[in-house]
Symmetry: C2
Subunit: 239 residues, 2 copies
Amino acid sequence: MAKIRLFIDHPLVAGQAVPLDAGQSHYLSGVMRLRQGDAVAVFNGRDGEWQASLQEAGKRGGSLIVLAQTAPQQDPPDLWLIFAPIKKARTDFIVEKAAEMGAARILPVQTDHTNSDRIRQDRLQAHAIEAAEQCGGTFVPPVADLAPLSRLLDGWDPARRILWADESRAGPAQTLAGLPPGPWAILIGPEGGFSAGERARLSRLPFVTPVSLGPRILRADTAAVAALALWQAALGDWR
Amino acid sequence: MAKIRLFIDHPLVAGQAVPLDAGQSHYLSGVMRLRQGDAVAVFNGRDGEWQASLQEAGKRGGSLIVLAQTAPQQDPPDLWLIFAPIKKARTDFIVEKAAEMGAARILPVQTDHTNSDRIRQDRLQAHAIEAAEQCGGTFVPPVADLAPLSRLLDGWDPARRILWADESRAGPAQTLAGLPPGPWAILIGPEGGFSAGERARLSRLPFVTPVSLGPRILRADTAAVAALALWQAALGDWR
């Protein structure tokens, strides 16, 4: 049976109690049927993974006692994922997959062909937390609020390169083996692709590297996982 | 606006009519609002892509006139995907993504830790067709019926190597750059992982190469896309 892992947004110190909110308390006692003294693995995104034991679980909340650190903090490489939100289920999947694949930050952007003008940042952040709990990681990528792509590019630090999954560039994928190390971001377009204006601007920016993801047109969620996999294998923590 | 692409399981010959079933007919006239003479791109998985025009679309079906071939048939590399079905939505996603990523054949298998003992092969095949229509491909990977992994391995042709995404092998991913070309299959385990017996057998088989997909534990659908991306970039049609 897989061990239960819980993200707790609280400092983790051996011998100290940490609070459980009502949802976590219900999950541990009502869903997973844990009893007082049962083991739970906890992490807060900063201090690695800790062994804890259930102290109390009631309807309004509960508490755990933190015992000992079981794994050091492991942060992902400095890779961001920029994507244009699409249909709800697929947007959720992109955030979940970005967390599993080791993105350090997730930035939803509005593009010319993006229909949605708002996201539920709190819900997407909860998906990132759930993915971190499930994938054994100790890091939770922050999900930024929706911002226009043009504004993001206006204020972009050129020291961070952008790997642009350019869906118009069908054909053999570029190898990522020759890319320079350092901070990167992967940019995935919306289902309708980028507009001509966006394409022209992206093509001119010196810190943007366009890349093809093969001869078929990938959906945004597929493209996100594929690009993250190639980058992680070439430059990230899959090496 | 993206052009409308339709899979038609019928020989495609210039100047000849091909039938539309009731669903296709409703999609073209009712959903996409096409009228007689409007253009549709069609493919049958064997003869490339053809330009066609709508001849008739009624409630019980309709027909297209095939005009001229617009793209040659393009088959994916000889890569199969073997996976253990999981929850419905994620199983659908795996099939969709395998088709987008260029798998040539999709084989759902029952493993010791697979809960489902049946799949809707027809529904999964429909997902593969829809993905091919959407991704601009001319090939539709056949989805096999559910079979026990043990029986699949009993009759396995050792000339086809298996890339085994071994979730217990956390750590740096092996590079796939050194793998020999030729027919391959990628094997993705169920959410609970493979059993000890399955692991022992897979480890002994000379045609099985275990591979790690990084330090985090990926969900089966994420692992499928990531492994397909690495293989396509190293040995497939992303080179």
